[in-house]
């Protein structure tokens, strides 16, 4: 259905698919000078093609360079737009926010993403820059912790490998690798364009069809092998670094929240909030007992056909925290979640969704991601309101056990 009205949210959203397969979502918002656009491609760090590790990210860097010698980022920034791109494990996104010249910027965005242009010189020039970026992330303890956990949870899924690649793998990158990668993954059927702010849908669709390849296209095959959900590949990851206090991150795989199962993502988020958000009895027990501090957080992630929850933070007592988290989850699952507490948690989730809808960047990003994954971002609120206490209790009972968990820790390196 091309037009959907979400009366409760005061939003109207237009969904179109061009003959070449490109999906376009338009979210008009009157009264704002600013506008946001995302062009998201269904490929990321986990998608190798035949290129060395780090190709998706390397390509993202180089795509801004145009054949006539211009750099699309420079062109858009000179118009006052705030333009950027990122490569995640399973998607790559090129996006901007602007307060003027929206259609000129949109045209530039569509052109440069669909115009691969790489030379030996420009590829060589990028290698030290990305090497610097790798060094910068190597200095981030949280990044090391995160990849440490992924390596423990997953045996084979490429989500465990760094999106940036390594200095060794990127040094082998050639223009031919990048052209082949672009050809395989950057097909219109594997992309989605989302626009938040401007309502001139016809003009948006016209620009999109003029600046993307014509002719029907197919999305590429993407598969990452089977991965056991019940057990982590390894139970632990350990490293020592020169940091001020030890940090930990514990993770559990769940059934993948994809396809018909995207509701699981909302159930998981609500379950984790019920269990350990700041308003939970568990949080107060751990915080008051000095076992956690304000760095404690939790998350649920879906990517490359797998899903997992994680929680952690800075503490000297991670084993005790993990023990208490699983014990409390099982207790809630067996004894029940108090009904009024559950309703309050749900109300808070509703407020969070409304807050998120005010951010143009967030809406454009989520409309794109949900479009690629095949669910409706704007249905989040009604879905939230339909989740039952029993579903959340079942989730906690099924997944929150020590047997399913892996824990990554970075300990303090003692001064020599």
């Amino acid at each position: 259905m091309p037009k959907r009205e979400y009366a409760r949210l005061g939003e109207t959203v237009y969904y179109d698919t061009l003959p070449n397969g490109l999906r376009v979502v338009t979210v008009p918002r009157a009264g704002f000078r600013k506008a946001a656009a995302y062009l998201m491609v269904g490929c990321g760090g986990v998608d190798r093609g035949d290129a060395p590790l780090g190709a998706a990210h390397f390509l993202e860097h180089k795509l801004f360079e145009m054949p006539e010698g211009e750099n699309a980022l420079t062109v858009m920034t000179r118009r006052g737009a705030n333009a950027n791109a990122f490569t995640a494990s399973d998607v790559t996104a090129y996006h901007f926010i602007s307060t003027s010249d929206f259609f000129e910027n949109l045209e530039t965005l569509l052109s440069f993403v669909n115009t691969p242009y790489f030379t030996d010189e420009s590829v060589e020039r990028e290698k030290p820059i990305i090497a610097r970026e790798i060094a910068m992330t190597d200095d981030e303890p949280d990044t090391a912790l995160y990849y440490g956990l992924l390596g423990a949870l997953f045996k084979k899924n490429p989500i465990r490998d760094p999106v940036l690649g390594t200095v060794g793998t990127i040094s082998a990158m050639t223009p031919a690798d990048l052209y082949a990668y672009h050809k395989k993954f950057y097909t219109p059927a594997n992309m989605i364009l989302t626009v938040v702010g401007p309502g001139e849908r016809d003009r948006i669709l016209d620009l999109a069809s003029r600046h993307t390849p014509s002719g029907p296209s197919l999305p590429p095959e993407r598969g990452y092998g089977e991965e056991s959900v019940e057990r982590p590949y390894r139970k632990t990851f350990r490293e020592r670094r020169d940091i001020s206090a030890p940090i930990f991150l514990t993770g559990v795989k769940t059934a993948p929240a994809v396809g018909a199962n995207t509701r699981l993502e909302l159930v998981a988020a609500l379950a984790l909030n019920v269990l350990m958000s700041e308003g939970s009895p568990l949080w107060s027990e751990l915080y008051d007992g000095g076992l956690i501090n304000d760095t404690f957080s939790f998350d649920y992630e879906t990517s490359a056909g797998v899903s997992f929850l994680s929680f952690g933070g800075e503490t000297e007592h991670s084993d005790r925290v993990v023990e208490r988290v699983f014990a409390e989850a099982q207790r809630l699952s067996k004894n029940g979640i108090p009904a009024d507490y559950f309703e309050r948690c749900r109300k808070a989730a509703v407020g969070d969704e409304l807050r998120a809808l005010d951010s143009f960047d967030n809406v454009a990003y989520n409309a794109a991601l949900s479009g690629l994954y095949g669910y409706d971002y704007f249905d989040t609120l009604p879905t939230l309101l339909g989740i039952t206490r029993e579903e959340v209790m079942d989730f906690l009972g099924e997944y929150m056990t020590a047997e399913r968990a892996a824990t990554a820790k970075i300990l303090v390196k003692e001064a020599v």
């Binding site: 000078r33 303890p141 304000d294 109300k347």
Partner: protein, 428 residues
């Protein structure tokens, strides 16, 4: 195009409310800022205060109870904050909440502001003082936070530069205060500080949302009815040092890093009548965007850095250039930075670069006008720097900045201090 004119009301001497009525958002926000002089003797106490106050009120004596009240208001959030702007330390609370148009709760503004008032004025006390367990936990958290700053090498390097460059100036005091004072925060000293701050701090309140000013005023007056009326709420000043007091010094420190962090601090000259649009454009031109001179030269052309940027503190009259580099290439990096600064001062930049900087600054300011947190942050800065223009007006002025304006603004730039954080040198 909506022309948003903030309405400014004085609730009592030194307590001002800025309201922006705006019906475009699905949320509303209120912030209460207590503006105090940045001083090493009080900085750690001030930075503990909002966190201890957040632990509980007389009516909601613990986190569970407080969070339950907030969750009941559709996940309204009231977050404590500690900010440093020039030589002011600003502590307080920032609240955001769903707009009544989207939820069954129609009195959400009144309920959230009432809670904010309670956090500030009616915290959970024991024998008239803060609870020992609250103070000790938050003191320990503050100490951990200060110790943790070294974990983010990029952030740490910037902090070290400021401490070294501005040693002996109030600006040299870190945002959270120093470790030695943080370790000594106690029930008695913190309770006293709370009383002092309530009496003496300049208070700025900001609202943005769909409610009319009259409703906002009523809600805040009710929420802050027990705030002492005081005639001594002055706005703290920031001392500008127009020139370095000596030749530039280089400090090198060692840490486990894969990427060396270079920081260069500059004084901007006298700031009696700062040309804010020209300063913003100057910064954008030099290192404020991906089309800036530093970015295009040091990163794209010479591969000397992945991350390089410049930033200004227009209250304090200083500029900072930051770059992540390979330590062996420090001389090349320093030379490239010197060249970039000299070029801007000498007018050696193209019309295209200038236009790009103007558009970039205007774009940022127009974006501020479209975001509640943006408007809130802008309002505080405007009060402290005596800026009367709204963000859109500053944006329009930025589009008119000339080459000469930029050169005039850059004329006073003088290098003061250089800092390099690197791996222990192998031949040390």
């Amino acid at each position: 195009m909506i022309k948003l004119r903030p309405e400014i009301t004085v609730l009592s001497p030194g307590v001002t409310l800025t309201s922006v009525r705006d019906e475009r958002f699905k949320t509303g926000c209120v912030s209460i800022s207590l503006i105090t002089p940045l001083d090493k003797k009080t900085a750690a106490l001030n930075s503990s205060l909002p966190f201890v106050l957040s632990r509980g009120t007389a009516r909601h004596p613990d986190t569970e109870s407080l969070e339950a009240a907030l969750d009941d208001l559709y996940g309204a959030r009231i977050e404590p904050f500690v900010r440093k702007r020039g030589e002011c330390q600003i502590i307080g609370f920032y609240a955001d909440f769903a707009d009544p148009a989207f939820i069954p709760e129609k009195r959400i503004l009144e309920k959230v502001t009432a809670l904010m008032g309670e956090l500030l004025l009616a915290p959970a006390l024991y024998s008239g003082r803060f609870r020992r367990d609250f103070v000790e936990t938050e003191r320990d958290n503050l100490v951990a936070d200060i110790r943790a700053e070294i974990n983010d090498r990029r952030f740490w390097a910037t902090g070290r530069l400021i401490e070294l460059m501005c040693a002996g100036e109030a600006y040299g005091v870190p945002r959270l205060g120093r470790l030695r004072e943080a370790e000594k925060v106690s029930v008695a000293t913190l309770t006293n500080r709370w009383h002092e701050v309530l009496r003496c701090a300049r208070i700025e309140i900001f609202y943005c949302g769909s409610a009319p000013v009259s409703q906002v005023e009523r809600a805040l007056k009710a929420a802050l009815s027990t705030l002492p009326v005081s005639r001594t709420r002055g706005t703290p000043m920031t001392a500008v040092i127009p020139e370095p007091k000596r030749l530039p010094r280089l400090f090198i420190e060692a840490a486990e890093v894969h990427e060396a962090q270079l920081r260069v601090g500059y004084r901007l000259g006298g700031m009696e009548k700062p040309d804010h649009p020209a300063l913003l454009v100057l910064n954008s031109l030099l290192g404020g965007s991906s089309t800036s001179r530093l970015f295009l030269d040091m990163r794209e052309k010479r591969g000397l850095a992945y991350s390089v940027s410049s930033q200004l503190d227009r209250q304090k009259g200083i500029m900072l250039i930051a770059a992540g580099i390979d330590a062996e290439r420090y001389p090349d990096a320093m030379a490239a930075i010197d060249e970039a600064v000299a070029d801007i001062q000498g007018g050696q930049f193209t019309d295209e670069e200038l236009e790009g900087a103007r558009q970039s600054v205007a774009g940022s300011l127009y974006t501020v006008a479209d975001s509640q947190p943006g408007l809130e942050s802008f309002a505080i800065g405007a009060t402290l720097m005596g800026i009367d223009e709204a963000p859109e007006e500053l944006a329009q002025l930025s589009l008119l900045v000339t080459r000469e304006d930029v050169m005039d603004a850059a004329a006073g730039i003088k290098k003061d201090t250089v800092y390099l954080l690197r791996e222990e040198a192998q031949d040390a």
